[in-house]
Symmetry: C2
Subunit: 216 residues, 2 copies
Amino acid sequence: MPMGEALPETSGAPELATLAWAPAFARGYVKDLRVRWALEEAGRPYRTAPQDHLVRDGAYRAWQPFGQVPAWREGPVEMFESAAIVLHLAAQSERLSPQDPAGAARTTSWVLAAVATVQPQVDVANSIASDLPEPARAACLARLASRLAALEAWLAGRDWLEGRFTAGDLMMAAVIREVNPGTLQAYPRLTGWLARCLDRPAFEAALAAQLADLAE
Amino acid sequence: MPMGEALPETSGAPELATLAWAPAFARGYVKDLRVRWALEEAGRPYRTAPQDHLVRDGAYRAWQPFGQVPAWREGPVEMFESAAIVLHLAAQSERLSPQDPAGAARTTSWVLAAVATVQPQVDVANSIASDLPEPARAACLARLASRLAALEAWLAGRDWLEGRFTAGDLMMAAVIREVNPGTLQAYPRLTGWLARCLDRPAFEAALAAQLADLAE
């Protein structure tokens, strides 16, 4: 079974809720990409369940209470939030995380750092900051810069966040690729690490699958 | 051994990094509170490791790469990010989460929704929004309102997010208690659910422990 293909519904088969449509600027950045990437790394086939806007505001909220994508179903497991789904998959695959308690805890820490500590600062810099007067605007950009500097320092002597590629690198790379390239170029280790992450065949396959599904 | 007491260092004993000092407005809101609450719910003793500002900018970054609190150590497990630590503890305690895969997946989903989908909107509303001109300010408040409305709808007919109290309620309540009370009062089910969460003896014990540690 090819990965990422829209397949007829089968009870209990893994199913990923995606967008039925997205504006051009969002293609390649919709957050089901993160789960697709994890599934590709783990070598797991999946079926997409594309949701249109009206469904997301209605019945879909029984599956995803905020009307967002992605969401995930597999047998009795029904869940939402891209990072939650990636953690769930990581707990089942050595390719996504060491399975011993200490190694798994490192993966979990980095996945959470990506979405709770870094993503909000990236989002503010990319959206709200341009509407802010000084010095509030500069303060927002400084908060993002402090996160990027912390990652730059951490990556000294490291190819990956924890000795090997994990779901922590995956989620952090998915966040860092949204940083303005002009901002990112001040961080050479982070730039090199991001390139290593995005060069992975699993990322390329996930990106191609999302772009194909959203092509008009 | 009383919970939350500063104890002499013992190799491998559970250890929670906290702040050595915080300004008055932050006391009761520093994010180690979330882990303290989880530890109290699980009935697990812990030792605090208070970090001062200079340490957090220096050697502490080997434990917490961003210099934030909390961080957690227990035997070979060394981790950071409050939500990551709470998830780690939840995987070990029925009191924090059902332990079957489907139930655990629900807990994980709500913990991530709290910190990745709701917290950023609360933070923007509480800090940046007042500096924004209209209509950008109204748009930020509308994004928070959409999250609160989603929770209000979800809580129809539910006492807890998932049939019973879990770490998902814990993390979401820790976020929602930071919402401006004037904003929150438009959501009666959410207000009632928050009161149920904060009335729990484990929350009260965790809050008292943080306040005692930060008292001058």
